[in-house]
Symmetry: C2
Subunit: 319 residues, 2 copies
């Protein structure tokens, strides 16, 4: 009897300790990311999309929107939200940041639009133009936006981002700064999301500067290096689409493990040690054998000792 | 010991009987349909797409292509094919019949195109035009087809269907005849697929003639009525998007149970009894509560005693 009471008291003690430490962790952590889709192709149920909000807030934006509904359902099954899938789409997602106009980065937004609520779509001018001419048209869908073909259903408001300018993300406590990326024939975008001087950097599809004959990544690394040195940048989310065997001439504006690590070395040259820095690897392209090869190659080539994180659909990442 | 032998012999006997009866069933049945996606919205993992082939053949075409990869994976898990998901996409699907240009009927085709093999896309002229101007463009994807923006990667060949003409489906033993349907601002398509004087009729999205101010469904019923009377039409696949509570003015070119049954009564007036005729109900729109209501209403309003079939993703239907 006494033994059981002691056990009971001990259990409560352990519970309190755990709760406090979880709270402390939440206080230290800056952002919550909920991956809705993590792959760079062919699986319609799992294409690039990441909800992000400050810890403790339910006011998210979505970084790309390849798959929404199926990813939200997975997260709801995992008890990530205290809400139904319908509420997460309608109430928790306050806006969409779209990196570029390829279908695998925005199909979920189009498909879910009839059930969605009014919100902003943030992107660079080129990408917004493609929304107007290719997607929210009456031949391919309905025009749920407030510009482009008439009639306009005016559910979505386009917010054209100017590179380098800080833009508040409406109905959230976050801001965003956009940087151009080179993605073959398209301009893609990196989004630097901030809250209370904490930052996360999300890159849409991008090739390496050397292959793309560009300085976009170099300029981006220069812009964020001070934030890394100041320990304000909590993570970089960056694509690795193909394993190293993919020839440079068929990269189609994407990265391999080798090219990623070359870019990280350039970044490290500006910041000093990147050991333990969180790198969230996005846009891995099926088949599964290829994804496994990417992971093995990244592990083998990680002399910088980066903290490599592979996001899983519906499983939150606390930064 | 003798008991065990008798049991053994009996087991073999039962197995042989079952095998023979399965074979006999296959000989009588005409088509195999493998649903890859069955819903009319928001779930990116389950949008309209149906593989169809003559029984015993692995040379399929796909009727619409909203979701491919995820549906193929489900079917492979269910042992529907003696092949990998990759082989099913690349080798078993010989072409795509696209009913109209809304994204939820073709997103899977676009997303899977980098992994696909050369094949035909069959559609009416309007729909092919939208492929060229909206989807297989270099802003929204890459041009994997042989017409439209340059460069053309020439994996897909567009086959413009003429309404009422019989067109062979290349690399299969089937033919198709296309009929126009009225779907709000778009022309949608009904595909009459045939093999050895057996037929299946698949309808893309369509509103009722009365709401659409059209005679397209009436003309279609007139065309297929003789095939029903001759017992050559094995099934009709037709949409029911909303429950009866949806007002006519917000049908957006879709059917409800009540409107479907009204159309079936018109068809029945041309054919005589439709009792036992197979009606495969497609494009039910989430939420689940709404789908349940559609099913209950169809059951209640089924005075014609149609054999109502609700396709399940990855589960074959033998006709």
């Amino acid at each position: 009897m006494i033994g059981r009471k002691i056990f009971h008291a001990f259990s409560i003690f352990i519970f309190v300790i755990f709760s406090l430490s979880a709270k402390a962790q939440n206080r230290n952590s800056s952002f919550k990311i909920v991956p809705l889709g993590v792959k760079g192709g062919i699986d319609e149920s799992n294409l690039s999309a990441y909800m992000i909000a400050p810890q403790g807030s339910n006011s998210y934006v979505c970084l790309d929107a390849g798959t929404l509904h199926y990813g939200i359902e997975k997260a709801v099954e995992n008890n990530v939200f205290n809400a139904s899938a319908e509420q997460v789409l309608r109430r928790y997602i306050k806006g969409y940041l779209i990196s570029h106009s390829h279908l695998d980065h925005l199909a979920g937004l189009i498909i879910n639009s009839p059930e969605d609520t009014a919100k902003n779509i943030y992107a660079l001018g080129d990408c917004i133009e493609t929304f107007k001419t290719q997607y929210f048209t009456w031949k391919s869908w309905a025009n749920f936006a407030d510009e482009g073909e008439t009639p306009q259903l005016k559910k979505y408001h386009y917010k054209v981002l100017e590179t380098g300018a800080e833009t508040p993300l409406t109905n959230t406590e976050m801001q965003v700064k956009a940087f151009p990326l080179s993605h073959s024939n398209l301009t893609s975008t990196a989004f630097l999301v901030s809250h209370n001087d904490h930052y996360v950097l999300y890159l849409g599809d991008t090739g390496p500067d050397e292959v793309e004959k560009s300085h976009n990544l170099e300029a981006l690394w220069q812009a964020v290096a001070p934030l890394i040195k100041g320990k304000k940048l909590k993570a970089i989310m960056i694509e690795v689409s193909f394993p190293d065997e993919q020839p440079d001439k068929t990269l189609f504006g994407h990265l391999t493990p080798r090219w990623l690590m070359k870019e990280m070395h350039q970044l490290g040259g500006m910041t000093g040690s990147l050991a333990g820095f969180k790198l969230i690897v996005t846009h891995v392209k099926p088949p599964e054998s290829s994804i496994e090869r990417i992971k093995a190659q990244l592990a083998a080539e990680n002399d910088l000792k980066l903290d490599l994180i592979y996001p899983v659909q519906g499983k939150p990442i606390n930064l």
